[in-house]
Amino acid sequence: MNFPKELKFAQTDEWVRVENGIATVGISDYAQDALSDIVYFEFSVEVGDQVKAGGQLGQVDSAKASSEVMLPVSGVVTEINEAVSDDAEILNKDPYGEGWLLRIKMDDPAELEELLSAEAYQAYRLG
């Protein structure tokens, strides 16, 4: 299982990569593995939405259950990866690459400090 060092993680299993104040968000390798076969992803937000950390980002359906994906940071949604809506399996195949979910222009970079480092997240999930 992969926990890339350059990423930050939420306890609710989302990852964040920040470049020039823009946060790219996805779900972790651990999350996609726990969900098993992902069949559908539905975004709860749209480009242009002002969103708050802790709100709902979307809904992910696997063959067995339906779960929520949360927003790890606050800001304005600048981009959404529509490829995920068309083919949710890419979340299983490449959660840190092709399976990214959306980009947010962050309101408050300090929010990142409340997220876990890759090591801390790995320890939290795998003990």
Binding site: Y40, E42, S44, V45, E46, Q59, A65, S66
Partner: protein, 451 residues
């Protein structure tokens, strides 16, 4: 009192849970409500009870003994005997939600066939199985459109020519929701077949436009301009249908509807004083994941044999838990089965024949009645299916009362729901009505009018 337990069983159970006597289990209930004295008449024998109940039942009028021209959303069609015979088989009658495919293949296949039939009939990609009735299906169309737009569009336009009961139930369902506004069915917008005043209200905040086909007055309206305007504004369009009419009319799926719903009662379900009925609900593939209830899919088992399973239940409580936006469980499975049997028995040609008979007979009736001095057909330039509006020279209430003396239920008094149609009667004609029945209504109308 019937109890399967012996006195000894009861004592053991009480001892196990540490309670002295059965009465102690009811101490939570206030004393005066605990064992109220029942004011019952002296007991009767079974024969006496049967006699009394039959007497009460016989006081009801029914479409068996009366000549019925009332429709307005529920229609008196012939139900072949095989429908009830198959429906009452224990395997179907007692079945619960078929979560276990290995023991539910019959029920699952029946649901799959139902979905396929309704999709074909409406011209839509996918149908669920099912809602409670046409009115609750209408409310579901509004809820679906609300979620489809993620709650960002708040205006829901309902045509005034949609069944008034459907509109009332939509308002009941959405009453607690501050960001849903139901409008478009006011007298000012009106019931003009051009739909111009309704179309003018479509804007970027419109989530859904709902129309009926044929409409509540039986009219067949070309909704293409309305659907185009709605889609240009990004709104969904829901079309309420009478399934029987789809035997001869173009299905709404072919002219751009996003949601097609309706009352399934005409498909092999008796009038039964108003229920149980059946809510039809079908959508385009784009809305597949937004529909409530469950979908059954066809697949193969591990030995390659054809099998049916619950494939998708995207909004239900057993998959979404506290986030569920629907909880359709056993729904109207039995009624959906009745309509499946009905449609299968009739077949494509038989169903078209029923639809065509309704159409032809209604047109004969409209011609006959509007030939009577003082009776005129409203909206006469507009095509209609098996229901039409007649303006009466005398108050409709009196007219209907007079017709009752001839054992005729003359129609539905439109003035109750539409002040602008005070003095108008909605008349429905199904395949059960013969030419001589229509002539009887014609003659009776002449007699009561000349009185």
């Amino acid at each position: 009192m019937f109890t399967p337990h012996t006195q000894k069983d009861v004592e053991v159970m009480l001892k196990t849970i540490g309670v002295g006597k059965v009465e102690d289990l009811f101490t939570e209930i206030p004393e005066k409500y605990r064992f109220p004295e029942l004011m019952l008449p002296t007991s009767l024998t079974e024969m006496e009870v049967a006699d009394e109940l039959e007497g009460i039942a016989n006081a009801n009028g029914s479409t068996k003994s009366l000549l019925n021209f009332i429709g307005a959303g529920a229609y008196d069609h012939y139900v072949p005997a095989a429908v009830d015979m198959l429906l009452r088989r224990g395997e179907f009658y007692t079945a619960y939600t078929p979560y276990q495919p290995e023991i539910s293949q019959g029920t699952l296949q029946a649901i799959f066939e139902y979905q396929s039939l309704i999709s074909d009939l409406t011209g839509m990609d996918v149908a669920n199985a099912s809602h409670y009735d046409g009115a609750t299906a209408a409310a579901e169309a509004v809820i679906l459109a609300y979620h489809h737009h993620k709650g960002k569009r708040t205006k829901f336009l309902l045509s005034r020519a949609v069944n008034p009961q459907y509109r009332e139930v939509v308002r009941t369902y959405t009453r607690g929701s501050k960001d849903i506004t139901i409008q478009g069915d006011d007298p000012e917008t009106g019931i003009d077949a051009s739909m111009e005043k309704l179309i003018a209200q479509i804007d970027a905040n419109t989530a859904l436009v709902m129309v009926q086909y044929p409409d509540f007055f039986g009219r067949v309206i070309d909704y293409k301009p309305l659907i185009e305007a709605a889609h240009n504004a990004g709104a969904l369009v829901a079309v309420a249908v009478n399934p029987t009419a789809l035997g001869v009319l173009t299905p709404p799926g072919e002219f751009g509807a996003d949601i097609v719903f309706g009352e399934g009662q005409p498909l092999g379900i008796p009038l039964s004083y108003g229920g149980p009925y059946l809510g039809l609900f079908a959508v385009t593939n784009d809305l597949l994941r937004k529909i409530s209830g469950r979908l059954v899919g066809e697949t193969v088992d591990n030995a390659g044999r054809l099998a049916y399973v619950l494939t998708l239940t995207a909004r239900e409580q057993h998959i979404r838990r506290e986030k569920a936006s629907s909880n359709i469980c056993t729904n109207q499975g039995l009624m959906a089965l009745a309509s499946t049997i009905y449609l299968s028995l009739l077949g494509k040609q038989g169903f078209e024949a029923v639809s065509n008979l309704c159409f032809q007979k209604a047109h004969y009736a409209a011609k006959q009645i509007s030939s009577i001095q003082g009776y005129t057909q409203e909206f006469s330039s507009q095509p209609f299916f098996h229901e039409f509006v007649i303006r009466s020279p005398q108050p409709v209430e009196h007219l209907l009362e007079d017709l009752r003396a001839y054992d005729i239920l003359g129609g539905y008094d439109l003035g109750k729901d539409y002040p602008e149609l005070e003095g108008c009667l909605l008349i429905a004609v199904t395949e059960k009505i013969g030419k001589e029945d229509i002539d009887l209504l014609h003659d009776a109308l002449i007699e009561v009018t000349h009185d």
